[in-house]
């Protein structure tokens, strides 16, 4: 292995830039003559707009323009498109109510954009926005999925009865019912997957300009600039691709929330064209809370049927998923194909049926957030398995082992559409239990008891599907896009290399990892490889970064492009070395006539390709640059085992995570340092979801946790030192063998935490604690059982 090749723990090369303040984020860009946009948003969860008077705002100092939804509609601006269509049980398409860029007639959630003020300064825009007089007629609102689906509930959209966007299902209901009929045990669980607010460190921002020839550039905080160009250009502003450049420069975190096409991008781009001046918008943190797509928010009922010995016979799940007030770009896919297809988990459950009702409410739209559907599935399943162990009296680890899909069963077809290519669940379980000293736990529990603390241990053996995904498959499932990835490899005349990737790095360390892959594959020094991403004018195309796809799909596109480089290089080398191309071998950056010492370096070949004096110019084009589109053959299936140990203070109900072990199978590891960082960050988010984070709306749609004063982000002192291990089986269908590591931490950890809490409280006969497991929830459980314990 080369010093900086595949597998080396290279330090992230982007970090010196970020740590010294040299990163260049959207808000750091400023264009001559730039104007500032400020958006007047709804402070009502649901209201009819009877009138908007913008005259005072228009006349305020520094104001250049004020626009409302009517102005945009009059100019032919379209609504925000949805990129995924789900079909109902009866085959009819989902409800797809309009999603105007600026509100038309009604507002449907706190934060819904109503009007934009564009002024010479940000302060002037903000001052003027207060002068917009809006005549609202408040309407009854609904925030919770159960309330929204109750008879007589207020309608979020007039033409969506019952607020149901779709009523979808998957699996074989008859087989499931038959299995339940003959089951020895049936265990049931109701659980909530709490709504989260992503809170990327960098708030969203957009800056657009339009030059004299009508060419537009949009700088935006996006995880996928090409997707934004496609959606905004084609559906909203009707701008052809060649006139629209989208740049996503350094982006400070996304976690999914920066995948989507947002109103503000369309507003500033449209306004820049109207006004012929650059227009910038930067979210304030309080706007992020009410305008970034939020995550999760499921209410589910689950049932597992088991036979006498504890073999899983069937699983039945029914879920209500909150979509918020409008369909965000990929929202419909999250509680369906990214969720219910994962309900087999690591188990050979032969029959599964899941039904999902997706529901509109007067809340901020919900879309994919780190893990997207898969954390919801893993949480449900891993909680349910623990409940099954509790109720059948079978040890929770033995029960898991009994039902694992064994290593020899791969490729394994699940009853919910997916086909797993590889995995070894026993291996990750074993290693995690060892690293966590599971055997020694009871002694630690007893020791904690002497200190007056309740100690518990919990595990989760989770699975996820990522590297999304074969275009044909996702097309059949309702995606309105392909999900391949693109790479161009440009070998320069002196042999250094620039890589143009359609993946986008916003914290993942691509500039390092991708350079390692290319250095390794082409045998060039790591320092001589540069990664370019995030600009539609430089990168041919791309679908972006989410769903842990950058390495598995984007990295594979690079390998494919490099293979083309090597194939061409062999032809050039054959010509120069007077041999036939079939006899040329390539290794470590050197082309060699097999079995001889006749060689040419990649640099020499590149030079010959660009200065083609001595070159097979009749048969080969000069230059050394190749582009590849790689369409994945399947999802990848990372998985593993997380072990969490908690201590509860019974007097206050405070839970402390005292030990956390994550052993994940992420396939081939390119850079162990980066994998560890990704897992650590994901686990921090997972612990945050399990214990702290909660977007709380009151019954009327007011967001009660609308700032960091009330929304609890995990902080360093909430977290233990996390032990991260990797145990790999290779992905069998991509050239890198890589599965992806971006989401495993956030997927595997929440059930491990809650399982540990339930274990710690086992003497109280507790079956389940909903997330976030706040001190008050736990104290209430203990309180409720105190009299009984005292009596015993």
């Amino acid at each position: 292995m080369a010093k900086e090749g595949i597998g080396a723990a290279v330090r992230r090369r982007e970090d010196s830039r970020f740590l010294t303040g040299q990163g260049h984020y959207v808000d750091d860009f400023n264009r001559p003559g730039q104007l500032y946009a400020y958006i007047r948003r709804s402070d009502r969860p649901h209201a009819r707009i009877r009138g908007i008077d913008v005259s005072a705002a228009r006349n305020a100092p520094g104001v250049v323009a004020v626009y409302t939804g009517e102005d945009l509609a009059a100019d032919g601006v379209g609504g925000l498109p949805c990129g995924w269509q789900i079909h109902n049980k009866d085959g009819s398409p989902m409800a797809e109510p309009p999603h105007p860029v600026l509100a038309l007639g009604k507002v449907r959630h706190i934060g819904d954009p109503i009007a934009v003020v564009i002024a010479e300064s940000k302060a002037q825009a903000k001052d003027a926005a207060e002068l917009i007089a809006i005549d609202f007629e408040d309407l009854p609102a609904v925030a919770d999925v159960r309330a929204a689906t109750a008879p007589g509930a207020p309608r979020v959209h007039d033409d969506v009865p019952g607020n149901v966007c779709y009523d979808w299902h998957i699996g074989d209901l008859a087989a499931v019912e038959a299995a339940f009929a003959r089951a020895k045990h049936v265990v049931r669980l109701d659980l909530v997957n709490n709504r989260l607010i992503p809170n990327a460190m960098e708030p969203r921002a957009a800056l657009a300009e339009c030059d004299v020839t009508g060419n537009y550039t949009l700088y935006t905080t996006s995880q996928n600039p090409h997707v934004i160009r496609l959606l905004m250009g084609a559906f909203v502003l009707h701008l052809p691709e060649h006139r629209l450049r989208v740049v996503a420069p350094d982006v400070g975190g996304g976690f999914g929330s920066k995948i989507y096409h947002y109103a503000e991008e369309a507003i500033v781009t449209w306004a820049a064209g109207k006004l012929r001046r650059p227009v910038k918008w930067t979210a304030e943190r309080s706007e992020s809370f009410i305008s970034d797509a939020q995550g999760r928010d499921h209410v589910s009922h689950a049932e597992l049927a088991l036979d006498e010995e504890g073999n899983f016979l069937a699983l039945r799940v029914s879920t209500l998923a909150n979509l918020g007030a409008y369909l965000s770009t990929f929202a419909p896919s999250v509680p369906t194909y990214l969720y219910a297809t994962l309900l087999a988990g690591v188990y050979k459950t032969p029959a599964i049926y899941a039904e999902v009702k997706a529901v509109f409410t007067n809340t901020v739209p919900v879309d994919a957030y780190r893990g997207a559907g898969r954390p919801e599935a893993a949480y449900l399943l891993e909680r349910l398995v623990d409940v099954a162990a509790m109720e059948t009296g079978i040890d929770r680890i033995a029960l898991r082992r009994k039902n694992f899909i064994p290593p020899e069963a791969f490729p394994y077809q699940t009853p919910v559409a997916l086909q797993y290519d590889s995995g070894n669940y026993e291996m990750t379980l074993r290693e995690a239990l060892k690293a966590a000293d599971y055997e020694g736990f009871e002694a630690r529990r007893a020791e904690a008891r002497r200190r007056g603390k309740l100690r518990g241990i919990g595990i989760s053996t989770y699975l996820e599907a990522c590297g999304i995904a074969p275009s044909k498959v996702v097309g059949q499932l309702g995606a309105r896009a392909g999900l391949y990835e693109v790479a161009t490899i440009r070998v320069h005349p002196t042999g250094s290399v620039t890589v143009y990737t359609g993946a986008h790095s916003h914290g993942q360390g691509h500039e390092t990892t991708f350079a390692q892959i290319v250095a390794d594959h082409l045998g060039v020094p790591y320092e001589q490889v540069e990664i370019v991403h995030g600009d539609t004018a430089q990168v041919p195309f791309g679908m972006g970064t989410y769903g842990s796809r950058s390495l598995a799909v984007g990295g594979s596109a690079m390998v494919k492009a490099m293979d083309k480089i090597i194939a061409k290089g062999k032809k050039i080398a054959a010509y120069l070395l007077e041999a036939s191309a079939e006899d040329i071998e390539f290794a470590d950056g050197v082309f060699r006539v097999a079995g001889t010492d006749k060689t040419k370096t990649l640099g020499e070949i590149a030079f010959a390709a660009y200065v083609p004096h001595n070159y097979p110019i009749e048969e080969l084009e000069p230059g050394l640059e190749e582009t590849a589109f790689y369409d994945p053959k399947n999802f990848t299936f990372p998985g593993g085992c997380h072990v969490c140990e908690v201590e509860i203070d019974p007097e206050t109900g405070v839970t402390r995570v005292v030990n956390f072990v994550a052993v994940d199978d992420v396939g081939r590891v390119i850079n162990p340092l980066i994998v560890e960082g990704q897992v650590q960050g994901g686990v921090a988010q997972g612990i945050g979801q399990a214990l702290l984070e909660h977007a709380v709306y009151d019954a009327n749609g007011q967001l009660l946790s609308g700032s960091f004063m009330d929304y609890t982000m995990p902080r360093a002192d909430n977290l233990p030192s996390i032990t991260v291990g990797t145990e790999s089986t290779m992905c069998t269908h991509n050239p890198l063998g890589a599965k992806g590591c971006g989401e495993v931490g956030a997927i595997g950890s929440p059930p491990a935490v809650i399982n540990a809490i339930v274990d710690a409280l086992k003497e109280f006969g507790v079956k389940h604690v909903d997330m976030p497991a706040t001190p008050e929830k736990i104290w209430s459980i203990i309180e409720a059982h105190r009299p009984r314990l005292a009596a015993e």
């Binding site: 903000k126 007097e651 206050t652 702290l692 004063m709 009330d710 929304y711 008050e776 104290w779």
Partner: protein
């Protein structure tokens, strides 16, 4: 934030003059509350009068009082050897207000003038029976706090210093932090000093900081956690929010009080 005029007067008299002449003018101390409020446009003062150049920062000890200047930042109180010696509970309280940045900007005067129902200092000031000195008078702690964000201060009145009577025999603060803001969800300061045995609770009351006479009586008889273990503050009048119900806060008051007593030794 809206526009305002900014002044940094060099004498207390000048500061008082500006503030008295204009009811819309506000004093500015560490800005840790005021600036966020301005940024959210929740307040629209015409003028800000920065108190930083008035010589109001500093800590003095005499045999009968520990006096802390209004502009003394929390960090200075936390690390002061004099405070640690005279009233260890007070130094401890200051050491876990907010974060390092907040502790270096936020001041005792600002905290008391603001009287946030979940602020920490009000509990110490009330439990220790301190006196709040202003540009014009002295106000006893028992008279100073008048409900959420409300104090005895008159418009334009500036706190200059806070005098804590000495000697203090026992003092300790225990804080159950609201998980997001990390202000006090329930903070209890227990003290035994010249003003007797006192227990003050912050974070929990709908009207801000308050004393718990039953606990004070019990502790005066026997200073031990057990002596107050059975004393409950009624949930009526306590705050209920997404972080904790009144019943939970009521329970936490007893737990924090017990722990504070144990900590005070």
């Amino acid at each position: 934030m809206y526009n305002f005029a900014y002044h940094k007067p060099a004498s207390l008299a000048d500061a008082v003059k500006i503030l008295s002449a204009d009811p819309e003018a506000r004093p500015l101390a560490g800005g840790q509350t005021l600036i966020p409020v301005l940024k959210q446009r929740l307040n629209k003062p015409s003028q800000l009068v920065d108190l930083a150049a008035l010589g109001l920062a500093g800590i003095k000890v005499s045999p009968t009082a520990l006096t802390i200047g209004a502009m003394t930042p929390h960090a200075a109180v936390a690390r002061s050897a004099e405070v640690r010696k005279a009233i260890p509970g007070l130094a401890d309280l200051a050491s876990w207000i907010g974060d390092e940045q907040v502790r270096h900007r936020g001041t005792i005067g600002g905290s008391l003038a603001n009287n946030d129902p979940s602020a920490c200092y009000p509990a110490a000031v009330l439990a220790l029976g301190a006196t709040i000195k202003t540009d014009r008078r002295e106000i006893a702690a028992d008279d100073f706090f008048q409900g959420m964000f409300t104090t005895a201060l008159e418009p334009g009145e500036i706190i200059t210093e806070v005098a804590f009577p000495l000697p203090v025999e026992k003092s300790a603060y225990e804080k159950f932090r609201q998980p997001a803001s990390r202000y006090a969800m329930v903070g209890v300061f227990v003290a035994k000093g010249p003003k007797g045995v006192r227990v003050a609770v912050t974070g929990a009351g709908q009207n801000g900081v308050f004393r718990v006479p039953e606990m004070e009586d019990a502790l005066a008889k026997s200073w031990s956690p057990d002596s107050i273990a059975a004393i409950k503050v009624s949930p009526d009048g306590l705050v209920s929010d997404i972080h904790g119900s009144a019943a939970y806060r009521s329970h936490l008051i007893t737990v924090m009080a017990k722990r504070a007593v144990a900590k005070a030794g």
